[in-house]
């Protein structure tokens, strides 16, 4: 299944909401290092957000697990060498190790910042978020508010239990402007038991959910498409032209 590749051109087509054109519009000098596209990935817990981020970046950058959920909003950006830092107060970041984060949110950490020397990160910044619907409404509100600032918002819905009323409600609670630059990613497509299932599922989602998004794409959990990097860059360059 190569539908992950779907995502790349669609990212390219979406114009970021803020600070995009002015960054490289007229001055060729800035074109070399444009402000990266900020892509926020949200959805209910275990909906494959972290896996999708890893797939986007073409490497297992973030730990994805079914039993320990992503506890912090994690921003992945380009860096010449790998780094992991915790933001503990405005503008204060300290180095930290994955092992020090045991999955339960510790007080004081508001975000994690991951730096990786990965090519895709030259053009996009990925924001992974804690899952919604774990029970703490204030955490959910904070997550949703933060992702409103991103250029592109990807909502992950898992293929096996796709598009529930709670997702519908949460998505509709976002401002219309954010929804318009939203992408519905149907994750774990490889978990479906037959291609005909996939067809039926997508038919339903096209009718019920896709109209609420800029567009809909599919993604798989394990298969990291080797073309993805190239496609992303290509899409990005297409957008630039």
């Amino acid at each position: 299944m190569t539908e992950t590749a779907d995502l790349a051109p669609s990212l390219g087509k979406l114009r970021p909401a803020v600070g995009y054109a002015s960054d490289y519009g007229d001055t060729p000098a800035v074109v070399a290092r444009p402000k990266p596209l900020r892509v926020a990935v949200i959805g209910e817990f275990n909906s494959g957000k972290t896996t999708l981020v890893n797939a986007l970046l073409g490497a297992a950058v973030l730990p994805a697990s079914f039993t320990t959920h992503t506890a912090y909003t994690t921003v992945v950006r380009f860096a010449s060498k790998p780094s992991l830092r915790a933001e503990i107060a405005k503008r204060r970041r300290v180095n930290i190790d994955w092992h020090e984060l045991d999955g339960t949110p510790a007080h004081g950490i508001c975000r994690l910042h991951v730096g990786m020397p990965l090519d895709p990160l030259r053009t996009l910044r990925a924001i992974d978020t804690p899952g919604l619907g774990l029970g703490d409404e204030s955490v959910d509100t904070r997550t949703l508010r933060y992702c409103c600032t991103a250029d592109v918002v990807i909502w992950c819905t898992p293929a096996m239990q796709a598009w529930k009323a709670s997702e519908h409600r949460a998505w509709l609670a976002l401002p219309k402007a954010v929804r318009r630059r939203g992408i519905l990613a149907v994750t774990f497509m490889d978990q479906l038991r037959s291609p005909s299932d996939a067809g039926r599922l997508l038919t339903r989602l096209r009718a019920d959910a896709a109209p609420l998004f800029g567009r809909m794409v599919t993604a798989t959990a394990h298969a990291v498409d080797p073309d993805l990097q190239a496609a992303l860059t290509g899409g990005r360059e297409a957008a630039r032209r």
């Binding site: 299944m1 994805a64 619907g133 293929a159 239990q161 009323a165 609670a173 394990h222």
Partner: protein, 746 residues
């Protein structure tokens, strides 16, 4: 109203495979079978007076099944779970999209003959349809109360879709079908799909008629049961369905089940919505829930992740409900079905994996690992074509045996077990009463025979004694009947006081809560900055009401017990006057089993305040003055909950009245049992007297003597029967106690 099945070659459901070793409800079934057998045997032994009580017991034993409702969010795998549990793969239709839209009850009962109808489908009545399709049902009612004159675009659009679809599928004259009930001799998967599945949108004219939009409920009957005890499995449409109308239908169609199996997906277990639903269920039906973590086969690491997910869920449940020990089982209903198909020879036992994903690019935790004990590794293989994914390694449990055991354990402490115990106690009482009456009769016969051997003077004295004793009984019996009447008045008084107290307490509780919440809201609105997440949580009110309700009913029940105890000395006195030396333990203990509590179902009703945040946002947008808002909130809470309080009062009254009826039925049966015995003796005595006074015909005297001896023999024989029955009842009760004890330990 009959409906002939269209002649499309219906086939019977798949034949079940061999029964598992420990079928659901086995310990209770043994008790049920013994009791059912005893009701028939005792009918011959006990005489007419016991008839009505025996009939009631027999009907309950025959008709009562254990109702197991399978609930959970959409796509948790509820229908698949039922197929696996019932050992009938492919019975209920399943799909990748939310598919079950009708509450479907599957009645399993082992019987030699097939049921009259295999499937009965109840369509909405005209009124129900109008209320639902044009009004939007209860959801619309609630939202209308919250924001008058406002109907969600979404809800309106969905209702429109539903009406249009019904028309497209069933023709413009579909309202003519409303109110019908369609019966089928056999039910094919296609028929089930027509009635209980969402169905595809692209229906075309001339296609099979699809009734699910207008079907209210479905009943399927099976005489070939994979379970030991009569079981009714109830499949429900999933909650959290974006198609809002369905949620309400489900809620309404769930009658007080004995056990809930709460199915969650291992991939997204226990979301906020799940917890809210569990909290509601749990408030209402303690000790009735099993959590089944389904789809464990889809976890990246079957063996390790499944155990971890289970542990996480158990932690979460302990944190949420510290006083309870909700059993959690994980497994895969899909795998369970595959196994059954493999057993039936429809599939090879293991389908080899097509390929193993390369671990190189896989993020942590998704690379396949060898599983424990050197067993062959599992395969999360990608499929490249039909028909199905590869079957994961077969040593992963489907969880079906474990969940069956958990259900059986819950059954042993459920209302079903209580009912069986109650019936056993009641039968024992009847037998002991008959025993007393027969012993007294036997004694009298033997004494009279003895007396006849001597002089007529002795016999005359003996007869006079006996007459006095019977007259004394008559006096006692009369007094007893008077006191029965008095006691009934007392009983009514107790019920009246309790319901009055209940009404006033619940009312006060609701009003106080409403005022308090209104005040909080007003404060919250005046705070600067405004509290963004204001939310009215009525769960505490529900819990308080439940506690008060159960408390008051319990106190009233204790009062009833005291009044009941007042009856027993009188009954015992009569027994001892009939048979001074009898110590058979008659009327010991109370008739009503402990812990049989009244229904709290009204508390589960959805109220306006339960509506989702988005509705409340509209509400906030609609009114300006904070005082006005607070008053509206107070009104909403009071109006909803006072109605619930009324329903609770009615439930309490029904429950207590049932209890009184049962107690009175029982003591009346005891007293009439004694009376029947006495009547027999009076008749004997009259003939004896006649013979004594006539004193002429030796042949007649001889005949009478033979007759009396035969009577004595019959008494002795009956007593043997009683002893055997009491022995059996004793072992039934011990068995029930044992099963209950074991399940508590487990």
């Amino acid at each position: 109203m009959g409906y002939e099945a269209p002649g499309l070659g219906e086939i019977s459901p798949v034949e079940p495979q061999s029964r598992p070793a420990e079928a659901i409800g086995a310990p209770l079934e043994a008790a049920r079978a013994t009791l059912l057998d005893l009701t028939t045997r005792l009918a011959g032994l006990l005489g007419e007076h016991a008839g009505p009580l025996l009939d009631v017991a027999e009907r309950q034993l025959q008709e009562r099944s254990c109702r197991i409702a399978v609930i959970g969010q959409i796509k948790a795998g509820k229908s698949t779970f039922i197929n696996a549990l019932a050992r009938r793969p492919g019975l209920l239709p399943t799909d990748i999209n939310p598919w079950t839209v009708v509450v479907t009850a599957l009645h399993f009962r082992a019987a030699p003959t097939p049921p009259e109808h295999a499937g009965v489908f109840h369509l909405f009545s005209v009124d129900e349809w109008r209320e639902l399709a044009e009004g939007g049902g209860r959801l619309r009612e609630l939202t209308e109360r919250l924001v008058p004159g406002f109907q969600s675009d979404l809800l309106r659009a969905q209702l429109q879709v539903m009406r249009k679809r019904a028309e497209r599928r069933l023709g413009p004259k579909f309202p003519e079908l409303l109110g019908q009930c369609h019966r089928y001799q056999t039910v094919s998967p296609q028929v089930l799909t027509d009635y209980v599945s969402a169905g595809d949108e692209d229906a075309w004219p001339g296609k099979r008629r699809h009734f699910s939009d207008i079907t209210r409920a479905a009943d399927l009957y099976f005489n070939d049961s994979p379970f030991a005890f009569p079981i009714t499995l109830i499949d429900t449409p999933g909650t959290n369905d974006p198609f809002l109308v369905r949620d309400e239908i489900t809620r309404r169609s769930l009658e007080n089940p004995d056990i809930y199996v709460f199915v969650v997906s291992a991939l997204q277990p226990l979301s906020a919505g799940d917890i809210a639903m569990l909290r509601l269920l749990n408030g209402l039906h303690k000790d009735r829930i099993v959590v089944f973590i389904n789809r464990a086969d889809q976890l990246p690491n079957l063996a390790s992740d499944a155990a971890e997910v289970k542990a996480a869920i158990e932690r979460r449940l302990r944190a949420e409900f510290p006083s309870l020990n909700i059993p959690v089982v994980y497994g895969s209903a899909w795998l369970g079905n595959l196994r059954l198909q493999a057993e039936a020879g429809e599939l090879p036992p293991v389908v080899a994996p097509e390929r193993t994903p390369s671990p190189v690019h896989c993020p942590r935790e998704t690379a396949p690992r060898p599983t424990t004990e050197g067993a062959p590794g599992h395969h999360t293989g990608h499929h490249t074509g039909e028909p199905s994914r590869s079957v994961p390694a077969v040593h992963i449990s489907s969880g079906m045996a474990e969940v069956s055991a958990a259900i059986t354990r819950l059954m042993c402490t459920s209302g079903i077990a209580m009912l069986l115990r109650q019936i056993a106690l009641c039968l024992a009482e009847l037998v002991r009463t008959a025993d007393v009456a027969d012993r007294a009769e036997l004694q009298s016969i033997l004494e009279l025979i003895e007396a006849r051997r001597r002089e007529s003077e002795v016999l005359g004295r003996r007869i006079a004694d006996e007459e006095r004793s019977l007259a004394a009984f008559e006096d006692h019996a009369e007094a007893l009947n008077t006191s029965f009447e008095e006691v009934e008045v007392h009983f009514k008084g107790v019920i009246g006081t309790a319901t009055q107290l209940l009404r006033s307490q619940l009312g006060t509780m609701v009003r106080e809560f409403a005022s308090r919440e209104a005040e909080y809201l007003q404060q919250a609105l005046q705070e600067k900055p405004r509290r963004a997440n204001w939310r009215c949580d009525v769960m505490p009110l529900r819990e308080d009401m439940e506690e008060a309700y159960l408390g008051i009913v319990d106190r009233a029940a204790k009062d009833l017990d005291r009044v009941e105890e007042f009856l027993y000395p009188q009954l015992r006195m009569i027994v001892s006057s009939l048979l001074p030396a009898y110590h058979g333990g008659l009327l010991e203990g109370l008739a009503w089993p402990e812990g049989a509590s009244p229904s709290v179902a009204p508390l589960g009703d959805k109220v306006t305040v339960d509506l989702a945040v988005s509705w409340w946002r509209r509400w906030f947008a609609s009114r300006r003055i904070s005082k006005e808002r607070a008053n509206h909130l107070r009104y909403l809470i009071e109006d909803d909950f006072l109605r619930i309080a009324d329903e609770l009062v009615q439930e309490a009254e029904t429950h207590l009245t049932e209890r009184v009826d049962y107690i009175m039925g029982r003591v009346r049966a005891v007293s009439s049992g004694l009376q029947t015995g006495v009547e027999r003796r009076t008749a004997n005595l009259a003939r004896e007297k006649e013979l004594l006074e006539g004193a002429g015909d030796p042949q007649a005297a001889e005949r009478f003597e033979t007759e009396q001896r035969q009577r004595a023999d019959a008494c002795r024989q009956r007593q043997e029967g009683y002893a055997a029955a009491l022995g059996e009842l004793q072992s039934v009760l011990e068995g029930l106690d044992g099963a209950q004890g074991e399940s508590r330990m487990g």
